[in-house]
Amino acid sequence: MRVGVITFPGTLDDRDAARAVVVGGAQAVSLWHGDADLKGVDAVVLPGGFSYGDYLRCGAISRFAPVMQLVIEAANKGMPVLGICNGFQVLCESHLLPGALTRNSDLHFLCRDQEIEVVNNQTPWTNSFKQGEKIVIPLKNGEGSFQCDDQTLAMLESKGRVIARYVGENPNGSRNLIAGISNAQGNVVGLMPHPEHAINELTGPSSQGLGFFTSILHAMVK
């Protein structure tokens, strides 16, 4: 079971993501933004950071990176893809996920431990959680406010494509407290907070983030 972790120029969380993949039980494979080869991976994680310096819009330049053309093609054929934070922004810019991530409503860069509720445990990235399970993982971003039009929002809600919601006060102005969504097939998931920073209580607020990385293993061996 090989999970690719893509590094773009400006990516920050690729090492933590790779480590989370390994602790989750899979083999982590480093992929570079300029690669024209997915190296036979079974799934891909797009980690957080500031790819291409967030120039133009977060994720806007990364979408056109050579490796992303392969990821988009494979994702459309069903390969599981998890985009965390900046990775979520890249997935939206790539049109693999609907909507967009905009500036936090209070303009502040947030960095804190955030409680979220997993509201769809039927995706390859969330099947280790109980439906409705509440977990605490770090949230750290400046542009995490999930926005989309009313029609898209109603569709996401009615199809169960909201996979996680913020618990308590809305941290960034996201519509319907959305912290993560999936595509129609469920294989592509975008998540604003960072499960890869919460795989061990020594270095994170919990080890509950690990569930995203054990989920993908369960999904692939099923």
């Binding site: 133009l56 819009r57 806007a60 056109f64 939206c92 810019e93 609907p98 909507g99 967009a100 905009t102 500036r103 936090n104 409503s105 209070d106 303009l107 406010s145 926005q147 989309c148 039009d149 102005g173």
Partner: protein
């Protein structure tokens, strides 16, 4: 040499926290004229000679694909004299 300008603005229904922050800073400085402020991006693109219809169509395409995100933004392409 001609200059093509692409103005990109958040759609009216999308919250603009930066514009709101500017709007609330203005009265603190004694500027009381604004009822609202929206902040956008402006791209200035220089080309050789006068732009042809085909070039303008290409710029429109680039504005849609790269310069703006149609989910949250509108754009206007114009030639600056």
């Amino acid at each position: 040499m001609a200059k093509i300008v692409v103005d990109v603005m958040l759609k009216p229904e999308i919250l603009d926290p930066q514009g709101n922050a500017v709007a609330s800073a203005l009265p603190r400085l004694g500027f009381t004229f604004a009822t609202s402020v929206r902040q956008g991006k402006r791209f200035e693109i220089e080309i050789q000679g006068e732009p042809t219809a085909a070039q303008l169509a290409e710029v429109e395409k680039a504005a849609e694909v790269l310069l703006s995100n149609p989910v949250i933004e509108n754009y206007v392409v114009r030639v600056e004299k």
